[in-house]
């Protein structure tokens, strides 16, 4: 249905359309005959130009004019049942939005029973079902792969979902909550500490890694003191093993969401980070999120890491 800024335009469009259709019909009817001045001959129109130039009048078959009239009637009928005359909806009340809604209803009716089957099951049971895993994989490729990668192993700033490490908890319900409600991971900026102190903290954090990252031992020792004093432990825990309730990462593992280089860690501490997983409750709904949670659960090796 067309939306006009004022009712005038609707009337304007409808009027012009109707007048044109009626005009076409009048034109057809009035031009159905040719006025000729041929005295007796019916083969030509009777006009003679340049002494001997004449024009044949070979009439078109009558069914031709019927076709023209049929189009006029069809046009009127069509505009009575479908929208076209301004804002008039048409007696069939067809709209493209209505088409979409009807198709969505059809799809829901078709897929709802399949989703319902898995909805009632425990997430661990769904993970074990091969059909559910295939559905989850297809859903993942459609909705999640743009950020987390086709193989779910993420990218810089987008967590790896297949490594068994969880920022917000790896229990089935926690994974599902991450998908439904989204997550907002916030690392507050610490530029006020001063560049030197930040660099010390960065070296300390690098020293915590089991990968034996190169670091300055002196700075690292100073950083260790700073870690407790400045308040990093408040979110990351006294042992720097992270806090899943806040989404604070474990700083003692090999997994670096934003990169392990000194410059990156300094940037993280100085400027902070704000990483958002969008909420998918409205967009995907409960049923699809249930399948996705089961799929993601099944990607990781072994049990989830507990806080």
């Amino acid at each position: 249905m067309s939306d006009y800024v004022s009712g005038f335009w609707s009337v304007y469009v409808a009027l012009i359309t109707l007048v044109s259709i009626v005009g076409c019909a009048v034109l057809l009817w009035s031009q159905g005959k040719a006025r000729t001045n041929s005295a007796g001959q019916s083969d030509t129109t009777g006009h003679v130009w340049d002494d001997d130039l004449q024009e044949y009048n070979h009439p078109l078959p009558r069914w031709w004019s019927w076709l023209f009239y049929i189009t006029v009637f069809f046009g009127v009928g069509y505009l009575a049942v479908y929208p076209g005359l301004g804002s008039y909806e048409g007696s069939f009340k067809w709209s493209s939005r209505g088409e979409y809604e009807a198709e969505m209803k059809q799809a829901d009716a078709r897929y709802a029973p399949i989703f319902a089957k898995f909805q009632g099951q425990d997430l661990k049971a769904v993970t074990a079902d091969p059909e559910a895993r295939k559905m989850g994989e297809r859903l993942f490729q459609t909705y999640c792969a743009q950020c987390h990668g086709s193989d779910a192993r993420g990218a810089r700033g987008f967590p790896n979902l297949a490594d068994g490490d969880w920022l917000w908890g790896g229990e089935p319900e926690q994974i599902k909550t991450s998908i439904l409600e989204g997550r907002q991971g916030v690392m507050p900026p610490h530029a006020h500490l001063g560049a030197d102190a930040v660099k010390d903290l960065a070296h300390f954090v690098r020293s915590l890694s089991p990968d034996k990252l190169a670091h300055d031992a002196v700075r690292s020792a100073r950083g260790k003191e700073g870690f407790a004093a400045v308040g990093c432990a408040g979110c990351h825990g006294a042992d720097a093993r992270g806090m899943q309730a806040l989404g604070a990462p474990d700083l003692t593992d090999s997994i670096w969401l934003h990169g392990a280089s000194e410059a990156t860690i300094i940037e993280t501490i100085t400027k902070g980070r704000s990483n958002r997983m969008p909420a998918h409750k409205e967009f995907l709904g409960e049923a699809k999120s249930h399948l996705l949670a089961a799929y993601v659960l099944g990607l990781s090796p072994g049990a989830a890491k507990k806080q």
């Binding site: 005959k33 000729t36 990668g149």
Partner: protein, 475 residues
């Protein structure tokens, strides 16, 4: 509406009355007399051939499915052993080009052969006219029946004719839809009256079109709707064989006794029987020369030859001849010699060239297609061992109608390797997206994009092999 008769004008000049002529006139119904002869036999042979193929091909099985099926829902066109996917639409374009060139070639050689012998409009009109003759009789009987007042006998004849027409039309509609929905399934659905709405619509629509076009419209299609009639002017040249009335031989026309020496009496061979006009399905007089309505069906040739036989005159007063041949009195040898002229040779060469190229292309067609889609957001990733990893999705299309296993390899950087499964199993005629992780040393190429190639090869079918290029990003 005619104006009153001449009014006396004060200045004394004569005023011509103005008349109103209709611009649309109902077309007169044509009652074509039936004809038999050489060309009529050729025409009926074409009817049998074309309809045997049309009505028969959809029932042929192949490899557990219908041999000729255009499965629009699954987007696959099956023609015997060939399966065409949407990506093969190029072959459809080539087929259309071949059809067009073939049409140009034989039209340049012998005029509207398609119209007179092979066009569905002609073929179905022939069939329907034959049924009409069964119920309503020959030309004069039909004219008499139409002019007669309504009666039980008339109604019975007309009803019978329409009933048979309806059956043929419905069978035609059903067969047409049977090329898009498997015909055996369609038959079962039709008999149990469980047709889908669109199938039902198309069957009845096509049946209605057949009944209308072959039963009523007939020559109206050729005269007013078909573009082929109008552009024959550019496809003919003075060496094209066309249905020609030899005016030099036939004129002056007139009735005469069989025993009379007509040449001595100053008469031509044409006895003015008018049978050539009676048999014409488009209602023209070929003696006036080639007209755009003439569909080249050669009914007039057969009719005139029969009359010539009866008069013991030589055949061929109306025959296939060319403009040049008539003007310059060529014999058959000369006409045939002029068959090979630049126009036909160029068409013939282009046609053979394209047919050979298309056949070769089809024979070389690989039953495997691969598209590489790289994971854009992931760019490059560092993984254990300090290697750099890129993620790709390979859309693999197994065109063969059997399950296949494919091996994946990647080349382009030294030491580049695939970190996921290198063997992919695909069901028959299926598409699958396979996620592939590719790893390389950080110093094996330059920073940024490096061209690499994926090679997908079918196991046990070495010749089935596709190489697709992609790019590997190193930070």
């Amino acid at each position: 509406m005619p104006q009153p008769a001449t009014k006396p004008d004060p200045s004394g000049a004569k005023v011509i009355p103005i008349r109103e002529e209709p611009l649309y006139k109902p077309e007169k119904k044509i009652y074509a007399r039936s004809v038999s002869g050489t060309f009529a036999n050729w025409r009926w042979a074409m009817v049998w051939l074309t309809q045997a193929i049309f009505y028969g091909a959809c029932w042929l099985p192949w490899n557990g499915r219908q041999a000729v099926l255009f499965d629009l829902v699954e987007r696959k066109f099956y023609i015997f052993s060939l399966v065409f996917w949407p990506q093969d639409v190029f072959y459809l374009a080539v087929l259309l080009i071949i059809s067009a060139l073939a049409l140009f070639l034989f039209t340049a050689v012998a005029g509207r052969l398609f119209c007179g012998y092979a066009c569905p409009q002609t073929v179905y009109t022939e069939i329907f006219m034959w049924v009409e003759k069964l119920f309503e009789g020959e030309r004069w009987a039909r004219m008499k029946l139409d002019a007669a007042p309504a009666s039980g006998a008339k109604l019975a004849r007309k009803a019978g004719k329409h009933a048979v027409w309806a059956v043929i039309a419905l069978w035609t509609g059903f067969t047409f839809v049977g090329y898009f929905t498997p015909v055996k399934t369609l038959a079962a659905a039709f008999l149990s009256w469980q047709l889908g709405p669109w199938e039902a619509f198309w069957i009845f629509f096509y049946a209605f079109a057949t009944w209308g076009n072959a039963g009523f419209m007939r020559e109206q299609v050729c005269k007013y709707m078909c573009p082929y009639a109008r552009f024959q002017g550019v496809m003919f040249d003075p060496d094209t064989l066309i249905v020609t009335y030899d005016a030099e031989r036939g004129e002056p026309r007139g009735a005469r006794s069989k025993k009379a020496d007509h040449k001595a009496d100053g008469k031509g061979d044409c006895v003015d029987c008018g049978i050539c006009v009676q048999v014409c399905p488009t209602g023209i007089d070929i003696r006036a020369g080639l007209q755009y309505e003439c569909i080249g069906c050669s009914a007039c040739i057969d009719a005139c030859d029969q009359v010539m036989d009866k008069m013991s005159y030589p055949r061929g007063l109306i025959r296939y001849s060319t403009e040049h041949a008539l003007a310059q009195h060529w014999g058959r040898r000369e006409i045939v010699r002029h068959l090979l002229r630049p126009r036909t040779l160029v068409y013939g060469a282009a046609l053979s060239g394209i047919i050979v190229a298309a056949a070769w292309g089809l024979a070389q067609r690989m039953p495997l297609k691969v598209d590489v889609i790289r994971d854009r957001a992931t760019l490059a990733r560092e993984v254990e061992g300090g290697l750099i990893e890129n993620v790709f999705r390979l859309q693999i299309m197994n065109l063969a109608e059997a399950p296949r296993r494919y091996s994946l390899t990647v080349t382009g950087l030294s030491g580049i390797q695939i970190a996921t499964d290198a063997i992919v199993e695909m069901p028959a005629a299926a598409t699958q997206a396979v996620t592939v992780r590719v790893r390389a040393e950080p110093d094996s190429g330059r920073r940024g994009s490096n061209p690499i190639h994926f090679e997908v090869r079918a196991l046990n079918h070495d010749e089935v092999f596709v190489r697709e290029k992609a790019s590997f990003l190193l930070p």
